[in-house]
Symmetry: C2
Subunit: 545 residues, 2 copies
């Protein structure tokens, strides 16, 4: 049996586009004499469609487009993800299903049994779990058909649902198929392969895994669909961060070369590709072409500018340089060097007159008070307002340039440098930002060396340095990683050997900035725990940890 | 048997405060010869604690404080909500439990079986559902002990969990006890009473319902704990929006007077109380005293100023009047009249010079282009920046004054009039805002009549009126209500008889403003469907509905 893997980039709610791609892939599969073609989880309407899944029109459109696709499934079988209604009238009324389309009919529907509800997932909000699991036979091949999380059954974190992989294995499947919408994080691929391999070994049969590819605001799907032989070796792998298509002969897997170990790309290269895709898809899927951002001469904005130029083309990127009286001599030069290196366009808009006019307007109200944080924030908000004015005037999307370390400790001004429609490196720690800058410079200098080597500063008062009020970024990031990615408490982190005073200080900064992050732009997620939908914290709690 | 109902206002993560209140109530119950005292769901750590429930230190603190409270349960039995660990090592590891404390021991733990996962709820994220349900006997009274949603079992929306109320009823309970954290909405009380009544009739026994009271940023608990006799009549009701305490003799309920029908307060009076509590608790629980807001002379800011003065005391409210060249003559007068009526303090900070300096700074970049939205937004963002500067300088919390109608259609400027730490009337439609203003004026004129009667305008260009670009608010709100509260699609709304063109226009405005609302402040929730955590929409989707 020939099986085609179709790894596509779907657009949520864009049924015409998604269906056209799907039908085109079915045609390609037919041309390649495939007997079966496999698409990803929830391919029809896109994922995550969130509360659109509660909209009756959305569900009807899913059904109508399944009808359309079904008509093309003659002489070929198709497995595809879609939400389907529970006609029994009990429960939530919706399943996350893998449909088997054959002879222009839906001949089987596997209903996802394990619904993830951690981190960015909230599938219990929309779906009820499936029950009663059976294999489905296609061309004499008995298939254990599963949807994404279903295969994560063996780690017991959802054991209250039942051990349905056992149920499927009892029927001695010839093949496991898993259709997925499994988001990228820079550590996730190895875990994923491990889980797939455990299932293959337990069931003693090969496995086909088809993932979504593409970004939906914050969530980025990496693709990397694959085929595993029954020894658990990867014998076919589709591209990362791109649409891809491949046809394999499932009964001749022994003739396929197994992937050599150690061929993985570096974390930083994967993060780089993920961010590029995140940027590209945000613009293409929202119908915008051009980006604007503030360029300070510092690392973060240089990095975002370089990424934007790569993703959108430098002709679509406008950098705005907004020096103040506190900007050091090198800042403007470093920013202009980046403009030259990337070829993006730029404006210089000094902010001092505006900042002065704010202070003048407030002189009576602030009378007799020393300048401080309020005045620093006026500078940041003046810049934010200038950038938004340019964004509004020209229809450019404002890119936010905050990194994860500063978001974590609240080192940023709400409505100032925290403004923007999309936060590009908000899930990248400062130490990773340096790695990424060096990676971008791997062939030639794009990000000016001085931008990388100088001491980081917000330049909101004379001779300010980040290190005045924050620990060294190496230490800061290590502690933040324990708090955020590892979800450890302060006591546990201190127990690991970190300095108590530093840990408690960072804990306080982290907790006190929840209210700021609540209003931050969406962040491209590349780690296993990003700020945003995957990390929900109360705002008026007492945090004694 | 005497049973005490303790309706308390908890603070998330503030274990010392919560435990002190709980122990004090136990003492009061003992003084009143109660045999049993009942507290609300998740009383120990507060609700919703969100991802703090994933923090080991938080769970340990819950356990330690249960130990402390347990020691006080001698000569009295106590029922209290707390998260407890599943020591079996399977599943999520956490239950949402109702503990029975007696003789300084935990003698029983009911584990919530129905975990809500719609609107603002996401309990599957944190808890696994309980199984195997039995009654617990206290002083010869067989109690069907349940947690909040458990009683919503009979509507089948979660039927995949099992019919455990049936299991409990088979044991013929003498009494149902339900401990709850059931948020306020202006329609919820009647539904709640209906569900309680259905359970009482089915089980043929009385019921005790103890709810939380208090606000946690967006979510407001209304209290209104109650006792129902076995006919389904309310024979005791605790206060709305306040802590309260009552002791009843459960075996003499026939001697209690049943509540007369029709004694319900008006929706607008309940919304008023909810907003006052929401404001009070936001400030007290975050440790702030003083509020600042921009006062335009229009309805929304006048309403928020009046509410803030009532909740915080007018001595803690600072109104900032920020006229521009587009402000009409009456605006400043109307705003000053409100200042006089409420007694709050105020500053007048004209914005024209700052707005001009922005336009001057951008004159080269904008050269040759006609003024438009960008310039209107500069005015709004100038005001936002001035307010934030005052907030930063004096440590006042900036209150946001956007209403639900304008949030819905994106009629507001991100980082401008959308700025603030808390959005007070963001779940109040414009038509409801008028009702609320009249309600506040019920005894004397607080909100100036001219503010109520004049045509609404953002005053960002000459002679601008809201009605220039939006339908009449009565019509707009009716259509928005169908989209938001009723989750209907455009086709369904048109089918109801609304004008097609208007519905499609509003649909487009609503969808296009998702990106703005993503960065809006938290909103005090008073309706069954507020913007924020209860309504999750994709940002880069295509919305063909």
């Amino acid at each position: 049996m020939n099986i085609a893997l179709a790894q596509l980039n779907y657009h949520i709610g864009n049924f015409d586009l998604n269906t056209e791609k799907i039908i085109q892939s079915i045609q390609t599969a037919k041309d390649q004499k495939a007997d079966l073609i496999v698409f990803a989880e929830l391919a029809i309407g896109g994922y995550p469609a969130k509360d659109l899944l509660k909209n009756r029109a959305f569900i009807q459109l899913c059904e109508q487009h399944i009808e359309q696709i079904k008509a093309h499934c003659k002489g070929i079988t198709c497995i595809i993800g879609a939400p389907i209604q529970n006609k029994d009238g009990e429960g939530k009324g919706l399943f996350n299903a893998a449909l088997v389309l054959q002879d222009a009919q839906v001949i089987y529907a596997h209903k996802k049994g394990l619904l993830p509800d951690y981190d960015v997932f909230d599938e219990y909000r929309y779906f009820e779990p499936g029950r009663n699991f059976h294999c489905v036979t296609v061309n004499d091949t008995k298939i254990a058909l599963t949807v994404c999380e279903d295969l994560w059954d063996d780690d017991d974190t959802n054991s209250y649902v039942g051990d349905f992989m056992d149920e499927l294995r009892q029927e001695n499947p010839d093949l496991i198929i898993n259709i997925a919408a499994s988001p990228f994080s820079y550590v996730h691929f190895n875990n994923r392969v491990e889980v797939l391999r455990r299932n293959v070994i337990k069931a003693n049969c090969p496995l086909i895994y088809v993932n979504q590819v593409g970004a939906h605001t914050d969530i980025i799907f990496d693709g990397r669909s694959l085929v595993m032989n029954k020894k658990g070796e990867i014998v076919c792998r589709l591209k990362a961060f791109q649409e891809d298509f491949s046809t394999i002969q499932i009964h001749n897997l022994e003739t396929y070369q197994a992937e050599t170990v150690g061929s993985e790309e570096s974390e930083i290269s994967l993060i780089h590709q993920a961010l590029i895709l995140g940027l590209k898809d945000y613009f293409s899927k929202s119908g915008f072409k051009k980006a604007v951002l503030g360029l300070s001469g510092g690392l973060d904005s240089a990095l975002v500018a370089a990424l934007a130029c790569e993703a959108l083309g430098s002709e679509n990127v406008l950098a705005v340089l907004m020096p103040s009286k506190f900007s050091s001599g090198h800042s403007l030069k470093d920013a202009l060097d980046l403009v030259t290196n990337t070829g993006c366009s730029h404006h210089i808009v000094p902010i001092q007159d505006v900042a002065d006019s704010f202070e003048h307007a407030l002189s009576e109200v602030f009378s007799g008070m020393a300048p401080g944080i309020a005045e620093e924030n006026i500078q940041a908000r003046t810049r934010g307002t200038l950038l938004m004015a340019i964004s509004n005037k020209f229809g450019h999307i404002l890119l936010n340039t905050s990194n994860k370390s500063e978001s974590a400790v609240g080192y940023g001004t709400l409505y100032g440098d925290m403004a923007g429609a999309l936060c590009v490196i908000g899930d990248v720690y400062k130490t990773q930002a340096y790695e990424l800058a060096n990676y971008i410079n791997r062939e030639k200098e794009i990000i000016p060396l001085n931008t990388i080597t100088k001491a980081p500063s917000a330049e909101l008062r004379p001779d300010q340095k980040d290190s005045d009020s924050l620990p060294d970024y190496g230490l800061l990031d290590s502690i933040l990683y324990q708090f955020i990615e590892k979800e450890k408490s302060a006591a546990e982190i201190i127990h690991l050997g970190f300095d108590e005073e530093t840990v408690l200080k960072i804990s306080k900064l982290l907790n006190n900035a929840e209210f700021k992050r609540f209003q931050a732009p969406p962040i491209l997620r590349v780690s296993p725990k990003a700020f945003g939908a995957g990390r929900l914290m109360p705002l008026v709690a007492k945090y004694p940890f």
